[in-house]
């Protein structure tokens, strides 16, 4: 299990390569990569991601441990950035490895649902027209209910 909360960019491809290498007993690797989306009118300059140092690592570790306990997983990776990002930058990534595809898929969805609403990050979209905090959605909160 590896958790990284970092300001610097990461390479999802290189992460997938090292995460999936050398497994003789895990047949399924699932990844999710989150990418900064531009605003509808293409005006975004920067996405600022604020977090709560200390709590962030603890919260993500607890979510990852929960995933390891709920699903039959061989390994978990979570990388999440903070700081100033731009459209098409990679914000975060999760990877799960399991013997069977259902565990790998379910665990990756579970991790994303919990990271979305339970990891202390806040996003602010800055464009030439101003800045606005991204609001949490009822849909994201509701997504937790299926687990």
């Amino acid at each position: 299990m590896r958790i990284s909360v970092q300001e610097q960019a990461f390479d999802p491809g290189a992460e997938l390569t090292s995460f999936s290498a050398g497994h003789r007993n895990l047949g399924a690797v699932v990844t999710f990569t989150g990418i900064v989306r531009d605003l509808a009118d293409g005006s975004m300059d920067v996405m600022e991601i604020e977090h709560y140092p200390g709590m962030t690592e603890k919260a993500i570790t607890a979510i990852a441990q929960d995933a390891m306990a709920r699903f039959r997983l061989g390994d978990v990776l979570v990388i999440h950035r903070y700081g100033r990002l731009h459209p098409s930058d990679m914000i975060m990534m999760v990877a799960t490895a399991a013997r069977h595809r259902k565990d790998a898929f379910d665990a990756a969805s579970f991790l994303m649902d919990y990271l979305k609403s339970r990891a202390p990050f806040w996003k602010r979209e800055v464009s030439s027209k101003g800045a606005a905090w991204v609001a949490a959605t009822d849909e994201d909160e509701a997504a937790l209910e299926r687990w």
Binding site: Y52, A59, H80, S117, P120, K123, A136
Partner: protein, 81 residues
């Protein structure tokens, strides 16, 4: 007690963290004390349903006791991922 603010709560209050002397027994009592202090706190804590609280870096509830707590953080619902 260290009190931390994040995102628009931080913006409204104007500082990311401060030390607060309080004898509040619960989070809600602390919120009432802060609201009574200055307009910027009253504005930040206007709608508690739009806020979340963490005690010593664990998500908690507004009716939770503060006994033994060293760090309280207030912030809007999280938007990770």
């Amino acid at each position: 007690m260290d009190v931390l603010y994040f995102a628009w709560v931080r913006e409204r209050i104007g500082v990311p963290r401060e030390v607060v002397e309080t004898s509040a027994a619960t989070v809600m009592e602390l919120v009432e004390e802060l609201r009574a202090r200055e307009e910027r706190y009253a504005v930040a804590f206007e709608d508690i349903s739009a806020l979340r609280v963490a005690l010593d870096q664990e998500l908690s509830e507004f009716d939770a006791p503060l006994a033994g707590v060293r760090e309280v953080a207030f912030f809007p619902p999280m938007t990770g991922g």
